[in-house]
Symmetry: C2
């Protein structure tokens, strides 16, 4: 499904070069459940952005479901991002002026779904993350963990086959975190692929494989029993 070869990402800050990824090679098969760990600043979110086609590598190749991503048209990339991939951002990235329901239904708006269906699905998605009674709150009227759950519901609403979740339980107490992990577990059981970034060991243990980054490189890549 996902094939990264010698991937590098170098950011520029003024005249300074920041090598965020310094040569990543990894393979992810369909229906894998993978956790990415590593110190703050080691390149986890950068790697997720590349996998999710939100950014392009400075060097190396990325093959997604057999297609070289760097050769894809903008339309094809947009279609992959909107329909095939669900992304939970580390900083949520919700629309501040839209309420929870509208934020969650947004991917369905882009997919051209009619309003009745989108509203229904958005309500169900919010109920699945425990926010049935917060549909009309805007992000600044929600707690940190509630915003995180809206971001999760939005990522899942299009039934994507690849879920990229960047610290999805970072703002959640352990009970609510477990509920979210149960949702992801079910999505995995249905045949989809899950890649999540976490700094919490007990969350990483739920995955089948743990990739550890250190300073822009893969330090370890092990299947857990």
């Amino acid at each position: 499904l996902i094939e990264l070869r010698d991937i590098e990402k170098i950011y520029k800050v003024g005249t300074i070069e920041v090598p965020a990824l310094r040569g990543i090679t990894m393979l992810v098969r369909p229906n894998e459940y993978l956790a990415i760990m590593g110190p703050s600043g080691s390149g986890k979110s950068t790697l997720m952005n590349l996998i999710g086609c939100l950014d392009t590598p400075t060097k190396g190749t990325y093959t997604l479901a057999g297609e070289d991503v760097s050769r894809l048209s903008d339309n094809r990339l947009a279609e992959i991002r909107n329909r095939r991939i669900g992304f939970v951002f580390q900083t949520f990235n919700l629309l501040p002026r839209a309420n929870a329901l509208h934020n969650v239904e947004l991917p369905l708006v882009y997919a051209g779904k009619p309003i009745g269906i989108r509203r229904q699905k958005a309500r169900e998605a919010l109920a699945a993350v425990g926010l049935a009674d917060r549909t009309h709150h805007r992000p600044n009227e929600l707690s940190g963990g509630q915003r995180q759950r809206v971001a999760i519901a939005r990522a899942l609403i299009n039934n994507p086959s690849l879920i990229l979740a960047d610290e999805p339980t970072g703002n959640l107490d352990s009970v609510t975190g477990e509920e979210i992990m149960a949702v992801l577990d079910e999505i995995h059981r249905q045949g989809n692929t899950i890649i999540l970034v976490t700094h919490e060991e007990y969350i990483a243990r739920k995955a089948k494989r743990i990739v550890r980054l250190l300073d822009g490189l893969i330090e370890k890549d092990d299947y857990v029993s």
Copy 2:
């Protein structure tokens, strides 16, 4: 130092009332080290905002160092917020167009400190959280955990006597999290008061007392041995 009596906070969303805090009574003495825990949405950030004078209660009284906060002038409140309290927000609240150095020096700008001193102190504060080589990055050029650490450095720069930290390690791996907790430990050792919200038990264990919220009320309030 802090005396809350029958504190209630009711938000309005359209015509609906959301009772975020439903009667909180608690006392915090100088030099205490307190952790607040509880499920997502239970009222932790709301309580922190009230304690930090960033918001006012709907009912109840808040006495800070002997003064009834509701009777203080705006100038006095601003002075308390800028000089006596250091606040680490759950969503960091950094200025997006300013780099890390400038974000961290901001409280010193408000305190009227000259530029040489503020730049020096801001550099030291960033070095203390491991970001000496990121001073000129803006927030969108920083990782999630690096933004969190800039927010922490900014909260500490004025040497406040009351630190309010809302999930200060939520985006940090355990090693970096331990470094931050060591910084807070030292600040506590110097006689200051620390109140932190966390959903991680191993972080809460570093405090001397744990207050657990549930649905806007205090469920438990225990000193840990």
